[in-house]
């Protein structure tokens, strides 16, 4: 069975790759394109560590097939910083110690960015429910939520 030949845009760059039918977008990102920032925590859409946006929509890349993304626009954690300038969320996560081991951090950042792009003024409950699909085992979520709300406040001002 011949592989699929797919072209798509990843973090603003046009990319080309080959993939088997059963390979997920996460497999393609990590193994095909060497973008290992998106993590595999469960492969069942339950942990959010593989979060990316697909045409601006927050999704789990483990739930999308590589062959589905032809012509689509994908944004991963690697595209979040602008050159040397960290995105405000990234900066606030550092300042608020919103990460301990860091494995869930890329997923949270992508998800939080998608939230703030839709809703610049979420309350604590809205942030928690939006991020319910991102599991963290280290932090108890407290500093993550604080970092997201602080970023929202800063971006609004």
């Amino acid at each position: 069975m011949a592989k699929h030949h797919v072209t798509a845009t990843v973090n603003g760059d046009e990319v080309e790759f080959l993939c088997e039918t059963e390979e997920t977008l996460l497999d393609v990102l990590r193994d095909g394109l060497n973008l290992t920032g998106s993590k595999e925590g469960c492969s069942s859409g339950d942990c959010g560590a593989c979060s990316v946006t697909l045409d601006g929509r927050l999704v789990c890349s483990c739930l999308v097939l590589g062959c589905e993304v032809g012509g689509r626009r994908i944004e991963t954690i690697e595209g979040m910083a602008r050159g040397e300038r960290l995105h405000p969320l990234q900066q606030k996560f550092l300042e608020h110690a919103a990460l301990q081991c860091g494995i869930c951090t890329p997923g949270f950042l992508v998800a939080a960015k998608a939230l703030l792009e839709r809703d610049p003024d979420p309350d604590e409950t809205e942030v928690r429910y939006w991020l319910a699909g991102n599991l963290c085992r280290c932090t108890g979520y407290d500093k993550i939520i604080k970092a997201v709300m602080a970023t929202a406040a800063e971006m609004r001002s």
Partner: protein, 286 residues
């Protein structure tokens, strides 16, 4: 494993009907990919229907709504008019999984995965939704409550797939709601799900009503007795008790890692009542 992304139902149906081995429809993929990864499924053919326009459209039609089978929960939430007409259906679709899952999961997939615990199905059944099915013999309409026969068993024939759902016109004074019980606040499969849709009569009493229960039987149930229990009332205490009793009487759940028979039956009554109260509140505001 073959992957095809046809642009018409004709091609999709021909692919599915003509498949030698296991063939699966791909909409959101939030169940299919998980099952493939877990080696529960190993399809020979995947038919991605998202390039077929009807599956992706949300349109007002004959006073009601036609929702494509491959429209995502997140997209449903973005239609203000649909949310206003059918808040229960939209909420139900947006309880499936997480924000990420709602970015992909569809009503068609949620139904055709064949789980009696599917979140959107009780809301669709309560709404009186009808599935528009295309197949080798053409198109036919099936009430949603007749699509699922049992766990992973559908009444669809080989080569058939759901193209879209039709939600009937909404009279004034109508409201719907969906509630589910899960042990956490998010991310769990429903242990019990209750969908209620009702319309008030001229006197402000409950007229037409539909009550649907999920995760309490081998398929999602439509419970006419529960609707009957509320009919003609303003959902006062006696009516609530009748409703709860009727909901409980309809349950035939199993004991599994998510809930016991006793627990599901007891909570089904509670949720039916709570969902009905919200639907009533919404109906009064309409």
């Amino acid at each position: 494993m073959r992957y095809e992304a046809p642009e018409s139902f004709e091609t999709a149906v021909a692919l599915l009907a003509g498949a030698k081995g296991d063939a699966r429809v791909l909409a959101g993929g939030t169940d299919l990919l998980v099952q493939m990864r877990a080696d529960i499924l190993d399809p020979e053919l995947i038919v991605d229907i998202k390039k077929i326009p009807e599956t992706r459209a949300v349109t007002e039609e004959r006073g009601g709504w036609r929702i494509g089978a491959a429209v995502t929960g997140a997209e449903l939430k973005e239609s203000a008019r649909l949310k206003k007409a059918w808040p229960g259906v939209v909420e139900a679709a947006n309880l499936i999984g997480s924000t990420q899952v709602q970015g992909r999961a569809t009503l068609g997939g949620n139904l055709c995965n064949g789980s009696p615990a599917a979140d959107s199905v009780p809301a669709l059944i309560a709404a009186g939704a009808v599935a528009s099915v295309v197949g080798p013999k053409g198109r036919r309409e099936i009430p949603v409550e007749d699509v699922m026969l049992g766990p992973r068993k559908l009444s669809l024939q080989k080569g058939e797939l759901i193209a879209s759902f039709f939600l009937p016109p909404r009279p004034k004074g109508s409201g719907d709601a969906y509630l589910r019980f899960i042990p956490r606040t998010e991310m769990d499969i429903a242990v019990v799900g209750a969908g209620v849709s009702l319309t008030l009569d001229g006197a402000g009493k409950i007229g037409a009503a539909r009550v649907s229960l999920g995760a309490v039987a081998e398929k999602v149930l439509l419970v006419p007795a529960a609707a009957q229990a509320m009919a003609g009332s303003t959902l006062d205490q006696p009516a609530q008790e009748r409703l709860e009793a009727a909901a409980r009487a309809a349950c035939r759940p199993i004991d599994d890692k998510r809930g016991t028979v006793e627990f599901r039956t007891q909570v089904a009554g509670v949720l039916a009542r709570r969902a009905a109260l919200i639907a009533l509140e919404r109906a009064r505001a309409n």
